[in-house]
């Protein structure tokens, strides 16, 4: 039990605008929402920050709604709210599948999509979905709003293009043509971090995104090009296995990850073939 009078302070913004001003005015202020990653890092001593900005009460970041041609998902949308949202179920069912794979119920009730993006783990369960859906990240700051394609959002392992004064406001997902597919291979059936996670879309130009096989979530353009060009799935699998660069770690080995990525590609192709029931 930690009983000390805390050295940590929590700043409560009055509004989103206030929150953005606070981010502008104070370097080192760390935004928090569901805290499912942050508490672990704090307890572990991996996070040195002492001042935090509580985004959790900002209702306007919790919105999930169609906005013209895109589906807007606020950064504070929890996994539970993604699972329950009729709009997400209809337009982006692979995100529902991904949200179901995150942690247990408690984590699904607290963890947010924005947090998953900001945390930037290469094993983040929702990230391949956003990459395959060609989503756009909406970033806000005191000076305005900008949009970054999700596939250009990460610069490397847990590093992003975000400026220090910016917050993730949400995600815009365009209409996804074609059949969506998602699969996570974890170390157990639930409450696990993935060995390999894949989201894919079966369309004239198929899109395939993978997690846990590179420093960031990745799309595999060569593999996609091969599939677009009519290559057999076996050929595409060979290309995929050379296109990704997994590592050995406690959860799996590079060789196994490469093998399983190939297996997943085959299953994606088989299970989304014309005539198969939509899942």
């Amino acid at each position: 039990m930690r009983t000390a009078i805390s050295r940590l302070s929590l700043v409560e913004p009055r509004s989103l605008r206030h929150a953005l001003r606070l981010m502008r005015d104070e370097a080192g202020l760390v935004p928090l929402a569901g805290c499912t990653d942050l508490y672990v890092a704090l307890n572990d001593g991996a996070l040195r920050a002492t001042r935090f900005l509580n985004l959790w009460p900002i209702e306007e970041l919790r919105v999930i709604e169609p906005r013209g041609p895109v589906l807007f998902i606020g950064a504070l949308a929890t996994y539970s709210s993604l699972i329950r949202s009729a709009d997400v179920r209809r337009r982006l069912p692979m995100l529902v599948s991904a949200a179901r794979e995150v942690g247990g119920r408690q984590v699904q009730n607290r963890g947010t999509l924005g947090g998953n993006i900001a945390n930037g783990s290469p094993a983040g369960d929702t990230l391949p979905v956003l990459a395959a859906a060609e989503a756009t990240v909406v970033l806000g700051s005191a000076t305005g709003t900008r949009r970054v394609p999700f596939t250009a959002f990460y610069k490397g392992y847990r590093t992003t293009v975000m400026r220090a004064d910016e917050l993730i406001l949400g995600i815009e997902v365009p209409e996804v043509e074609g059949r969506q597919w998602f699969c996570k291979v974890g170390t157990r059936g639930a409450q696990a971090i993935s060995k390999v996670v894949m989201a894919a879309v079966r369309a004239p130009h198929p899109r395939v995104a993978l997690g846990s096989v590179a420093p960031t979530v990745v799309r595999v353009p060569k593999t996609e090009a091969a599939l677009t060009g009519g290559a057999s799935v076996d050929e595409a699998r060979t290309i995929l296995m050379s296109e990704i660069a997994p590592i050995d770690d406690i959860r799996s080995t590079a060789a196994y990850r490469r093998h399983v990525a190939g297996v997943l590609l085959g299953r994606f192709w088989e299970q989304t073939a014309a005539g198969r029931p939509v899942y």
């Binding site: 039990m1 930690r2 009983t3 000390a4 247990g104 291979v185 170390t187 157990r188 059936g189 639930a190 409450q191 696990a192 971090i193 050995d248 406690i250 959860r251 799996s252 080995t253 060789a255 196994y256 093998h259 399983v260 297996v263 085959g266 299953r267």
Partner: protein, 812 residues
């Protein structure tokens, strides 16, 4: 040796009223509602919090420790190091090689080096960072074979056998001749990887040094008595001034059956500071504390006749012990001694060597020392069956040991329900129509096992009782049971309640149990070796049968009838017909309560409440109480080590497991486990089934998920419950607990153990089921997808005539 029938297996008052029913645990509601008090729930006025500084090196000499800055930090009350607690201890009197805090050198990453008591955990943690320790790193031994090959510098100085922790070589009959004459001999290597307990409650201890000079330690331990002894030794405080209490405990599985650093540290810090001190390990620290299942490298040679009869078994086992002895001496014996059932071996030899390594120390985990050899042997037996084209259940039947016999290594076997266990799993799983006949990728496997129900050898040799209890009979109608037994979730307090209520004819709520408090309770040796129900149960019946005649006599004299006409049922004393019409069963309907009028009263017979009966007896005989005890008979083979593994009774288990194997991803899914377990008599079938399911669950987890390992620096590979994987509900197979009752003559009402035996067969049965599913033999645990794929590839390559490639870098 003949078996003893010490208390009989029959109901004391005709028909069982409590035994054999699915009764609630005494602490069930408190645990479910969160009211139960665990060690960490204890908060005393002025209590300090302590934290441990741990070694970053796997093997190093400590040059110096400087705690001056830490002591100056605000809120810090004391810092202690090895020099403050230099006395060695260890669970076994022959291998006392541990100290509470490292003295002179460290032997694994995570070994306690210093401890701080401060006003809160944050201050204590901050102080840890200010302690400067100068280390001189030494060569780290991470491989037991290297430890055995060289020992310069040795892990423990001053030992004449280098890094050998223990070596045992025992032979029974001429194994070489038997194997030379065998029609078929299977020889192979098997590897058990090492797992830990992963109890949900981390270790916790609170120390209090009172103004009366009494040191009290509350600890999440399963061995209060041994902690009591170790505290007296290390702290140099007379044992009668030390009180050890085990509060409600959140799981142990063998992981809390050593004295641990924190118990000495909170005691010392409480004595140093004059304040109560608490220490709660983090999950990470629990992984360093370990004492989990030993990794074993096992070579087995098994010979049989063409008909599948075993003629000889020869085992060579190298055991990775980690940095300290713990129970290692016993483990080294158990690795061989406990294999000699449920099958009869004509000849047997084993050679097992436990090596020290610079890793967290291994110890006992559910099925201590015998789960690993059982895995190897049962897989080898399956291979023998497929080689001889005999059904795997049939080959086991052909080698049955039988009951009331002696094993090749001289262990006395009393009751033995193994043949029925095999019948039950065969029938329940539809084995005959499904084994070998399921589609590719799906398969079934069988395995059997035997385990001790208590051990006849106390950890420190002494002639006193191994289990003892005390009863206090109160005028209110309450009987309080005092027992040193450690209820670690297995339900020993509940069993005590059921047995006393049964013996004295009381309602359940008339019996309360006080346990695991060394000031109040007679000594019991603790919750290990599956001994509590068996030994404490016998001690309880002993105590009840001393006091019961007094109460019966007082009532009989009061009514002026023969004592045989006095019956206690659910807290009511009734007068029986003369002569009793149904001596074997009193016709009492419903739940008669004290004060209520039982049906017998309507028949005009006399009755009174138990409280009234106790008052009559107290008036006549003075204050009522009784003690009871149990000691095993002299058991074991007549050779050095022959008593290790000797138990007053043995339990038997058979599993059938059904698996599916995804040949593309290599993933094994355990679909269902049929568990048949001979527990003698199921005193509470629900608790027995719970132990059987929990055991099988743990076995499946060890086979498919759990792995306790270190990296090349000796640092734990993943000291968290995220990276150390145990199955979630969605990973847990369907479990069918099928109880088999053999009614052991020596057990309380015929009961034997149920908490450890049912784990053993799960692991080999999975390997055997995978063979049935896809034709590969998995001999190296854990059965990860990478290993499955490699084995499938090797099989394909072998079929194609090309040499199999080596398994690439520890595939997970």
């Amino acid at each position: 040796m003949a078996s003893r029938d010490i208390h009989g297996i029959d109901a004391p008052w005709g028909a069982f009223r409590h035994v054999g029913r699915d009764l609630r645990k005494v602490d069930g509601l408190a645990k479910a509602t969160g009211a139960a008090m665990y060690t960490d729930d204890i908060a005393l006025p002025g209590m300090l919090h302590a934290k441990t500084l741990r070694s970053p090196h796997a093997h190093a000499r400590i040059r110096s420790i400087d705690a001056a800055d830490a002591l100056r930090l605000a809120g810090v009350h004391a810092v202690i190091t090895g020099e403050h607690l230099p006395v060695t201890y260890g669970i076994l009197p022959w291998t006392q090689d541990e100290t509470a805090l490292a003295v002179g050198k460290v032997r694994f990453v995570g070994e306690p080096v210093a401890a701080v008591a401060a006003v809160d955990e944050d201050a204590a943690n901050a102080a840890l960072k200010l302690i400067r320790v100068e280390y001189e790193p030494l060569h780290a031994y991470l491989d037991p074979f290297e430890s055995l090959a060289r020992h310069d510098p040795p892990i423990h100085e001053g030992r004449k056998d280098g890094n050998v922790s223990k070596h045992v070589h025992l032979a029974f009959g001429d194994v070489d001749a038997a194997l030379a004459e065998a029609d078929v001999v299977i020889e192979d290597d098997y590897v058990f990887h090492g797992t830990t307990h992963a109890a949900i409650e981390p270790h916790c201890a609170v120390g209090h040094y009172g103004a009366d000079g009494v040191l009290t330690v509350w600890s999440s331990t399963q061995i209060t008595h041994y902690v009591h002894r170790a505290l007296a030794r290390v702290l140099d405080v007379p044992a009668h001034r030390i009180r050890v209490i085990q509060p409600c405990l959140g799981g142990a599985f063998g992981g809390k059956s050593d004295p641990f650093s924190l118990e000495f540290v909170v005691a010392k810090l409480a004595m140093t500071t004059g304040r109560p001190v608490k220490m709660l390990y983090t999950r990470e620290e629990v992984f360093y504390t370990h004492r989990g299942r030993h990794p074993m490298h096992m070579r087995y040679r098994t010979g049989a006749t063409r008909e599948g009869r075993l003629v000889g078994v020869d085992a060579t086992i190298v055991i990775d012990g980690g940095a300290y002895s713990s129970y290692g001496l016993v483990t080294t014996y158990y690795a061989g001694q406990l294999l000699t059932g449920p099958y009869a071996f004509a000849t047997y030899r084993f050679d097992s060597t436990r090596a020290f390594t610079n890793k967290p120390p291994c110890g006992p985990k559910r099925g201590h020392g015998s789960v690993q050899p059982r895995f190897a042997f049962e897989v080898q037996l399956d291979e023998l069956a497929s080689t001889l084209e005999i059904d795997p259940i049939e080959i086991r039947r052909r080698n049955l040991l039988g009951e009331h016999t002696t094993t090749v290594n001289g262990q006395r076997i009393t009751s033995n329900g193994f043949a029925r266990c095999l019948d039950v799993v065969e029938h329940a799983s539809n084995w005959k129509t499904r084994h070998g006949q399921l589609p590719f990728g799906r398969g079934m496997g069988v395995a059997g096992s035997m385990y001790i129900s208590g051990t006849n050898y106390p950890i420190y040799p002494n002639p006193m009782p191994q289990a003892a209890v005390q009863l206090k009979i109160d005028r209110s109608g309450l009987v309080t049971v005092f027992t040193g037994a450690n209820d670690i979730g297995q339900g020993s307090n509940s069993i005590a309640q059921y047995l006393v209520a049964e013996e004295l004819g009381l309602a359940l709520d008339q019996v309360r149990v006080v346990s695991a408090d060394t000031d109040l309770c007679p000594v019991d040796l603790g919750a290990y070796s599956s001994r509590e129900t068996f030994m404490v149960g016998n001690a309880l019946i002993d105590a009840c049968r001393k006091v019961r005649p007094l109460v019966v006599r007082a009532v009989a004299d009061h009514w002026q009838v023969d004592p045989s006409r006095v019956r206690f049922v659910d807290g009511v004393v009734v007068e029986l017909d003369d002569p009793p019409l149904q001596p074997a069963g009193v016709a009492v309907g419903g739940e008669a309560r004290p004060g209520a009028s039982p049906p017998d009263a309507a028949a005009g017979r006399r009755w009174m409440t138990a409280a009234e009966a106790f008052q009559l007896a107290e008036a006549r005989f003075d204050t009522l109480g009784a003690t009871g005890a149990y000691n095993t008979p002299t058991l074991g083979g007549d050779y050095r080590g022959g008593t290790i593994g000797a138990a007053p009774a043995y339990s038997f288990t058979a599993h059938v497991v059904e698996v599916s194997v995804d040949v593309e991803t290599g993933r094994i899914t355990c679909e269902k486990v049929w568990i048949a377990h001979d527990c003698g008599r199921a005193l509470n079938p629900m608790l027995v089934a719970g132990q059987m399911e929990g055991s099988a669950y743990m076995g499946v987890a060890e086979a498919l998920m759990e792995a306790h390992g270190v990296n090349r620096f000796g640092l734990h590979a993943g000291p968290s419950l995220l990276d150390y994987r145990i199955p979630t509900t969605v990973d847990t197979p369907e479990l069918a607990a099928l109880i088999v009752e053999s009614l052991d003559p020596e057990g309380p009402y015929g009961a034997k153990e149920a908490g450890e035996g049912p784990l053993h067969p799960a692991i080999p049965a999975i390997s055997n089921a995978v063979f049935d599913a896809v034709g590969i033999r998995l001999k190296h645990l854990p059965f990860t997808p990478g290993k499955v794929l490699a084995a499938l590839r090797a099989r394909k390559d072998a079929a194609a005539g090309t040499p199999a490639p080596a398994l690439a870098g520890g595939a997970r």
